[in-house]
Symmetry: C2
Subunit: 308 residues, 2 copies
């Protein structure tokens, strides 16, 4: 095979209490990409979307990821042409850059007959994240490549754990304001109270147990962040109201997606997930901020290969 189309899903990093360690892939939105294997050592990036992202390979998220992949590949005479239709808005907190990075390497690996394993692909795509945010983080890339909920127990050495989950519905709202990842990181305190950390790790342990034991009530009780959310949520107008009203209409809970500004909520039924979207809509219409909402499900497969 010389050419493949893929869909690279949006992802939700942190999952409230799992700052820097947990992530979740969703079925919508997703980026569309086409990757073609070339007989020359060259990487060509083409964007057919409206975002005017850089196309020089070393400055492009997908490009930087493919450079890392090709460095590890035996045959130095090949290259890739990548055509990207970005449907996950950059800066939304929904893993837009991770989708480009992960999508590119998963597709390329398929064209190389799965020469690399998934963990290798995460490592390559981390180079793409570095281009986007200056940090080689993996909490969006990993669920994008593996699907479902993933735990990064440790980043060095890289230790990835796939966690099974109940079939939950996910509602997301992307209020059209800008929150830079670097700003969202800078306002965090470098020292935290031990007693808060204990609460946080109780919730993380509860959330992991809730996912693995299919205990949605436990998931709901554990979706509580006493460390990051109280600081970061200040950057997101309407956050407290979205959270409160979503829970009133039946959501299990939720919080900031990645470093924001998007907010996500988990629900057990599609009806609740739609009511949550309606609440989000009312709140941002009242505030007068443009927004997008999504009602979707957990993506359990990661990047989807489109075979015709």
């Amino acid at each position: 095979m010389r050419k493949i189309k893929i869909q690279a899903p949006a992802t939700i990093a942190n999952l409230v209490c799992g700052f820097d360690i947990l992530g979740l892939a969703v079925n919508a939105p997703y980026d569309e990409m086409e990757i073609e294997l070339l007989d020359k050592p060259e990487i060509i990036i083409e964007h057919i979307d409206e975002y005017n992202l850089p196309t020089k390979p070393e400055e492009n998220v997908a490009g930087a990821s493919l450079i890392a992949l090709l460095e590890a590949y035996e045959d130095k005479s090949i290259g890739f042409k990548v055509t990207i239709n970005k449907l996950i808005k950059p800066g939304s907190g929904l893993g837009s850059s991770a989708a480009s990075a992960a999508g590119a390497v998963v597709a390329a690996n398929h064209l190389l007959n799965n020469y690399f394993d998934k963990k290798d692909l995460v490592r390559f795509a981390m180079n793409g994240e570095k281009v986007a945010s200056g940090v080689k983080h993996a909490d969006n890339i990993t669920p994008c490549i593996y699907g479902g909920v993933t735990l990064i127990r440790s980043i060095a050495p890289l230790d990835i754990v796939e966690l099974s989950t109940p079939d939950l519905f996910v509602t997301m709202v992307h209020p059209q304001i800008e929150v830079k990842t670097s700003d969202a990181r800078q306002i965090l305190r470098k020292e935290i109270q031990l007693k808060d950390a204990i609460k946080q790790w109780g919730n993380i342990a509860g959330l992991v147990a809730g996912f693995l034991q299919n205990d949605t009530a436990l998931i709901s009780r554990s979706l509580d962040d006493v460390i990051i959310e109280p600081v970061r949520s200040i950057l997101i107008p309407g956050f407290d109201e979205v959270k409160k009203n979503s829970i009133v209409v039946g959501a299990l809970g939720g919080g900031i997606s990645g470093s924001g500004p998007s907010i996500f909520m988990l629900s057990t039924t599609q009806d609740i997930a739609k009511m949550v979207a309606q609440e989000m809509k009312l709140i941002y219409e009242k505030i007068g901020i443009n927004f997008y909402t999504y009602v979707t499900t957990i993506n359990k497969n990661g990047v989807i290969l489109m075979t015709d």
Copy 2:
């Protein structure tokens, strides 16, 4: 039934990275207790062991727990006589006080035809822990009552999660030195680095996933504590050597039991668990500190009722 004998097991709090939230019950050592229902509102405590513990009910761990239980019971005309043969040494870090507290309320509840549920019993026994250490902690009581590995997601409100585990072997060594719980708590820093907390919650998430997914390699990788152990282990001579040598002979890992001085190690086979005990023996013989070792398994039932 008017009288019952029980065995109340030793417990390991914290489980390395789960400070204040995780605990594990083991099959040995255990306290032996006999509880008799009385027709008068009185609590009588008798110790038939060598430890000269207080026998005034309000100063005794079992007594204080039973006072709390009787306060919540409808019939105010009853009481209990408790005879305790303490086989878990006080101050060992193996949940000696929790065993008395949990044993007393589980036995009493049996004599009251299980009027209370397990969570009620944890609450009553926390009053016993308060007598012992000044703090109403539940991380030993909970596994003692529920068995197996337990997570206390939150202490207020009390939220207990039972975690299934692989059938592991447990080796413990109790070096005969005194480490006061209050001292072990005081030397901890009240503020910790966010980056250390992130490592810790990655490990806690990994440990919970390892238990629930029967993944002993993941359990092994997750048994790492970057916050508490580096501070507390200084109080325990031989700690680093015990840990290093245990892992060399094949243990999955381990650390300080509760606030010490006992050290525990988890292993997948009895042979390894015995080799670990042998390493512990060699180390404390060399240092010249008296010690006890135990090779046992996870207690999956909690307090055992001895029906003749």
